[in-house]
Subunit: 260 residues, 2 copies
DNA sequence: ACCTGAACACCGTTCAAGT
DNA sequence: ACCTGAACACCGTTCAAGT
C-alpha cells in the first residue's frame, strides 16, 4: 500500500480541509463571509451553522451568543484599518487618512456599519486602534480631554456616515445609480413644496440632494477637524491645522495596519 | 329606565373608550407607549396587537409593516423637538438649544435613538423640522452647501451620542450608576495595560473614562459648531459664532415646537 | 470535552374566510 | 370595508443525551 499522498496546500485557499474542527476563528471568518455576501439579516446562527456543516446549537460552545459573535467580527475587520504614525507638519492630513481608511473598511463589508454603530471596540484590535488614534491626535497638540473625546467623535462620524450611505440603497438588492434616482425623486418633492411655508427647503433642494456620499464625508471631516483645531488653542504640534492641507506632499510612509 | 349616564371625560385621559375602532394614530400612540415602557425589542406586532386587544394580522390594514410603523413613531416624537426662530446675536447658542432639545427627546423615549439612527426623517414633522433647522443655520451665515449638510451632521451627532448613552447601560434593566461602574472597570483595565505598548491609553485612562454623557455632548456640540463657523468664512450673521456664547442673556422667546 | 436533536418560546407577514 | 384564525417560514437559546 502506497504512502498517503499529502493534499496540495493550494487546494485549500484558507478555508478548511473538508472536515476541520469547529473553532472560534473559523466561525468568525465564516460569519464575515456571509455578512459580505448576504448582509446582516442573513447572518443567523442557523445559516452560519449550515455553512459550517454543523448543528446550530454547536456554535454556542465557541461564541456565547449572536451578539458576542458580532463583537468578534467587528474586531476582526478592525485589522484592515490603517492608522498612521504621526509625522510633523501633516497632522490634519493624517487624521483624514485615518478616517478614510476606516471608511474604506466599512464600504468593503456590507452592513458592518450597522454592527459598529452601537458597539464600543474593546477587542484586541479595537484597543490597539484606540492607542494609535490617541497617539496621532495628541501629536496634533490636542489636550487630554479633547484627544480622548476626539477619537470617539471621529469614529462615530465615520460610522454614521457609512451607515447612512449603505442604508440609502438598502431597499432591495440595488446599489449603483439607485441612490441617484432617490435623490432625483427627493429633489422633485422638495421643489414641489409650497414656497411660502418651506422657503428654505425649496431654495436648498439642489444642495440637499446633490451632495454625494464622498462629498458629505469630506465636508464632515473638514468640519470636525476644524472644530478640533479651534478647540486645541494655538497648539504647538498643530502647525498644519485648519482646513487646508498645504503640506500634503510627503507620502504616508509610516502608515501601518492596526493588527501588526 | 333612566337615561344613559355619559362617561366622565376625565376617565379616558387620551387613550380610548373600551372599544374604539383600530386607527393608525391609535396604533402609533400605543407603539410609542410600549417603546417607552419596555424598549424596542419588546415592540413586536404581536405584543402591540395584544395591547390593542386585537389580532396581530389586523395591524397590517393600517401600517404596512413594522418598519413603516417605526417611521411613524419617529415622526410622532419629532413633535417634541423645539427649533428656535433665529434671533440676531444668539446664533451659536440657539443651535445648541436646538440640539439639546433633540437630545432631550431621545432621552425621554427609550430606544428611540436606535430607531432614528438609520432613518431619514421625511414624515410631515421631519420635513417641518428640516425647514426650521435650515432657517436657523442659514441665519448664521452658512452658505448653502454648509447649511444643507450642517443640519444632517448635527442631528447625526445628537442621535449617535444618545445611542451611545442608552446602549452604555442596556445590558439588563439597570440605568443609574451602572454607567459609573462600567467606567470604573474600564478605568482599571486601561490602567493595567502595559505602558510600553499602550502609553497613550494608560496616560489618558482618566479622561477617557471620566467623561460623562452631558460633558461628551457639550464637547461634541462645541467642536461641530466651531467647525461650521470656521467653514462659514467671515459670514455676516455669525457675529456670535465661535465657541463662546457671550450674548446668552436673552431668553429663547421665539422657540416653538415643530408640530405647530 | 465536544457535539447533536429536539424542544421552547418567540418572530413578521400573508391570505382565505368570515362579518 | 374591516377584521380574524390559521398557517408559513423563519428566529435565538437551552439542555438532556450521546460519542
Amino acid at each position: 500500500m502506497p504512502e498517503e499522498i499529502p493534499v496540495p496546500p493550494w487546494r485549500r485557499p484558507k478555508k478548511a480541509p473538508p472536515r476541520m474542527p469547529l473553532t472560534q476563528d473559523r466561525i468568525v471568518d465564516t460569519a464575515l463571509g456571509i455578512l459580505d455576501a448576504e448582509g446582516l439579516d442573513a447572518l443567523s446562527m442557523r445559516r452560519l451553522a449550515q455553512e459550517l456543516k454543523t448543528g446550530h446549537a454547536s456554535l454556542y460552545a465557541h461564541v456565547g451568543n449572536r451578539d458576542e459573535l458580532l463583537d468578534l467580527v467587528f474586531d476582526l475587520v478592525l485589522t484592515e484599518v490603517e492608522i498612521p504614525e504621526p509625522e510633523p507638519g501633516r497632522w490634519a492630513e493624517q487624521v483624514k487618512e485615518m478616517c478614510r481608511s476606516l471608511r474604506r473598511m466599512f464600504l468593503a463589508h456590507r452592513d458592518l456599519a450597522r454592527i459598529a454603530i452601537d458597539r464600543v471596540p474593546l477587542g484586541p484590535n479595537g484597543i490597539m486602534g484606540m492607542e494609535r488614534t490617541l497617539n496621532l491626535l495628541r501629536a496634533g497638540g490636542l489636550q487630554d480631554e479633547l484627544a480622548a473625546y476626539g477619537g470617539d467623535l471621529l469614529s462615530t462620524f465615520v460610522t454614521a456616515e457609512a451607515l447612512e450611505q449603505s442604508s440609502r440603497h438598502s431597499g432591495a438588492e440595488q446599489s449603483e445609480e439607485q441612490a441617484g434616482m432617490f435623490a432625483d425623486q427627493l429633489h422633485g418633492y422638495l421643489k414641489s413644496l409650497p414656497t411660502a411655508q418651506f422657503p428654505n427647503l425649496v431654495h436648498l433642494a439642489g444642495p440637499i440632494t446633490s451632495l454625494d456620499s464622498d462629498r458629505r464625508f469630506e465636508l464632515g471631516l473638514e468640519i470636525i477637524i476644524a472644530g478640533l483645531v479651534a478647540g486645541a488653542g494655538a497648539g504647538d504640534g498643530a502647525d498644519d491645522g485648519g482646513s487646508n492641507s498645504a503640506a500634503a506632499t510627503v507620502r504616508p510612509a509610516g502608515s501601518t495596519p492596526v493588527g501588526s
